[in-house]
Symmetry: C2
Subunit: 206 residues, 2 copies
């Protein structure tokens, strides 16, 4: 068997988030497909050792943010290369929430799908969650980021790889104003265009 | 809910084939993802009214051919736009067979994955089959065809759409020789390069 054949399957790049009580977590995943209509259902797979997997088993709901072609490596590194058991990945971000109150990414993303789990299947290494789509929004007209794009264009070559970089500020997506500092105040309004925290995206240190 | 958000999920384009006794059938599908390791397993979804779906329930095995960027609309039309209940889509094709004896496409394809069903889940409109990968082969170094590519580049615009076109000959993929006629003899050898029927791809009528 040539496992390289399996690399030819086409996938997207997603930020999968959920919430149990006040505990929010999210991670980067690649597997989601629509599996049925009437009602519309999708299936996602999550590694069993992943903290987000444990939390979805408890919450039964999730938001899947579909990253788009503008997504940078820092964003993927922030959600994908550290565990929610060690750090609060959402601590300094002011994000919109979906119908289930779960934060999702409004920037570097083309869509968000909100799921309510109807079946879950433990497959040993991974759990598959089948979920009814309870809401879905288009966020941008950019093309979705595929896993092949990530490997070819987004992921740094080995020698260029950098340490996890901290957030050093927040840029207003409306007018470009940059707030300097690692935490954007909850009630912050852009001094130039008066938009709120949900319209700011993080700027990572060089 | 904006269902356009679901169109942003990234999929491939596949020819899914199976065999029950001497009955072979195949169709075009878009959904496959790896769902677990140890052993490697994939999940596919097939519409319940589809003849291939009935046959996989009976056979418990399938071959998934991953189409590549060279795949033409005629190929997708041949397997996707007619039912195996009405025509034998494999009648005039001489195809290689996988470990389960199921024919797959050796041309216009970048890989083939052979699956043995371990779970099946009826979701109303579709059935999901989870299968152990029992074999996998890389067939070409061309990039996989994605569903977005199909929509953007392969599918004819409405006014250009043509009727289902019959096979008028077979082209040798090694040397380019064209055999004229709708059925390639089983023991045919290319008069130029002496390759056999498995190296010939169909040529459709204009």
């Amino acid at each position: 068997m040539d496992k390289k054949a399996l690399y030819k399957l086409s996938y997207g790049v997603f930020m999968l988030s959920t919430k149990v009580g006040s505990k929010v977590n999210g991670c980067i995943t690649n597997t989601c497909m629509q599996v049925a209509g009437s009602p519309t259902r999708i299936a996602i797979c999550v590694i069993n050792t992943n903290y987000t997997c444990d939390l979805i088993k408890e919450s039964g709901v999730f938001a899947l943010t579909l990253l788009d072609q503008t997504a940078g490596f820092e964003l993927i590194q922030h959600f994908g290369f550290q565990s929610g058991r060690d750090v609060d990945k959402f601590a300094n971000l002011r994000l919109p929430e979906d119908v289930n109150g779960i934060p999702y990414l409004a920037w570097q993303a083309c869509a968000v799908i909100s799921g309510k789990v109807t079946n879950s299947l433990d497959l040993g290494t991974h759990t598959m969650f089948i979920a009814e789509v309870v809401d879905a929004k288009v966020l941008s007209e950019e093309a979705p980021l595929t896993y092949a794009d990530y490997q070819d264009h987004v992921k740094p070559k080995k020698k260029e790889a950098k340490e996890q970089r901290p957030i050093k500020g927040f840029r207003c997506r409306i007018c470009g104003y940059v707030y300097e500092g690692p935490v954007l105040p909850e009630d912050f309004l852009c001094p130039l265009c008066e938009h709120g925290p949900e319209d700011f995206e993080p700027v990572f240190a060089d």
